[in-house]
Symmetry: C2
Subunit: 256 residues, 2 copies
């Protein structure tokens, strides 16, 4: 369970990371390639360091797992899972669809999630057992019971590797497919404007924060076997605004 | 040549269309499919009608060509080319990367262009012979002489049809490829954060406004043969922030 102190800290983390992201956005910025060839900047590193510092001061027993700075106290019961800039490729292209992702994972289960877009000033907060909010107002996913009526998002067709054929089958079954939004597509799903987000090759820091946001807005989010997402999930994600779309999507993806 | 009265009208058009787009954005909205299966909403139609009304009152002799309401006085020397919401698919998904596109085309040549993002409050204005501005401040493309260092954008890999193999060759030659931004990718190219936008299957109302914006920011924009874009172009577009990238890109696309 995430308590009031956890929610308060999550807001402080998003505020701190957002201030750093805004300072670097659309400024000349050295872009380095990480060993996995994805880009990273000083903005990513500084934003994560600022969040880790706040967590360590407030909850020194808690663990942390971040995209840029790795794991600390990985065996702790409570682990803060951080992606300081999800969508670094958008960030460096001047496109404000990146997001700060913050999750609190308790005994392997995400219980609090934040998706924050610091340029647009939009923050989605999901807490297990509560209604998801955007800037304090409750949001809900929309009904969409048929794949043929669904709007599907994925960040890129190139993220699927060996699962590309499965994704193409799904693309053929939905009404509309769009690319390129990273975490912002999940946020719009929570707000009722997107029906499906299906991705692969994600890391725990990419998806843990999404889980409470989408569940608390009335949607479903699982791996491609329909199992709940946790730290050990394989990085394949199906988020459905209308939970009845989830099994239909899984059936297409697995060819059953 | 676009004069002060043309620039003034262009701002009025963008203001009028933007007010309508903001009123409909993220509101429940009936989405219809056009004969070409692309989506259209009341927001598209009302925004275009408002712009046409302003043009007809100010310059009754001028022609108009709009995405939703077609051609009027198509033989006029001056034609206003309008896309009320470029990126309707983003618009209906709640994602603020759509844009209002306004061009003034004189004797077949685009001489004024506006790319306006009414949710973010960003407006790029290009006028032949003048420096392109964003919200009044001059913008410049950035230097990037090598394809291997370039960030490439396209709205979707599915827009290329028979040219898909050519696009995939280009994708293999650049540093980073991203999808999904419609006109906003060209705007970020003008501002120096994106190096290449390569697309196909565009219509005159999709690309005429881009031409003065990109040329006035120091970039190049042509069809896939390297020819200037005009009303009769075939809808294949190469925009390069660094003009020396243009011929290199064309060589890859054409396999020469």
């Amino acid at each position: 369970m995430a308590g009031a102190a956890d929610i308060e800290l999550a807001h402080q983390l998003a505020d701190a990371a957002g201030a750093i992201a805004r300072r670097y956005f659309r400024k000349p910025l050295a872009v380095e390639a990480k060993p996995d060839r994805t880009p990273v900047t000083a903005a990513d590193r500084e934003a994560e360091a600022a969040m880790r510092d706040l967590i360590a001061r407030r909850f020194p027993e808690d663990g942390m797992l971040g995209e840029e700075l790795g794991a600390t106290r990985a065996g702790a019961a409570r682990i803060w899972v951080l992606d300081p800039i999800d969508g670094t490729k958008s960030f460096i292209a001047g496109i404000p669809l990146f997001g700060i992702l913050i999750a609190l994972v308790e005994n392997g289960v995400p219980v609090l999630g934040v998706i924050d877009q610091p340029i647009l000033g939009e923050r989605w907060l999901g807490v297990t057992g509560k209604a998801t909010t955007k800037n304090g107002d409750a949001v809900r996913t929309r009904a969409c019971a048929e794949l043929g009526a669904a709007t599907l998002y994925a960040t890129s067709p190139d993220m699927f590797g060996a699962d590309r054929a499965a994704f193409e089958r799904l693309k053929g079954a939905v009404k509309l497919t769009r690319f390129g939004a990273d975490c912002y597509a999940y946020a719009q799903l929570a707000s009722g404007f997107v029906d499906l987000v299906v991705e692969a090759d994600l890391k725990a820091y990419d998806f843990c924060a999404l889980v409470p946001v989408i569940a608390g807005a009335g949607g479903s989010i699982t791996d491609w076997q329909g199992k709940p997402l946790g730290l050990a999930s394989d990085g394949r994600v199906v988020a459905a605004g209308d939970p009845s779309l989830g099994p239909k999507t899984l059936a297409i993806l697995t060819g059953n």
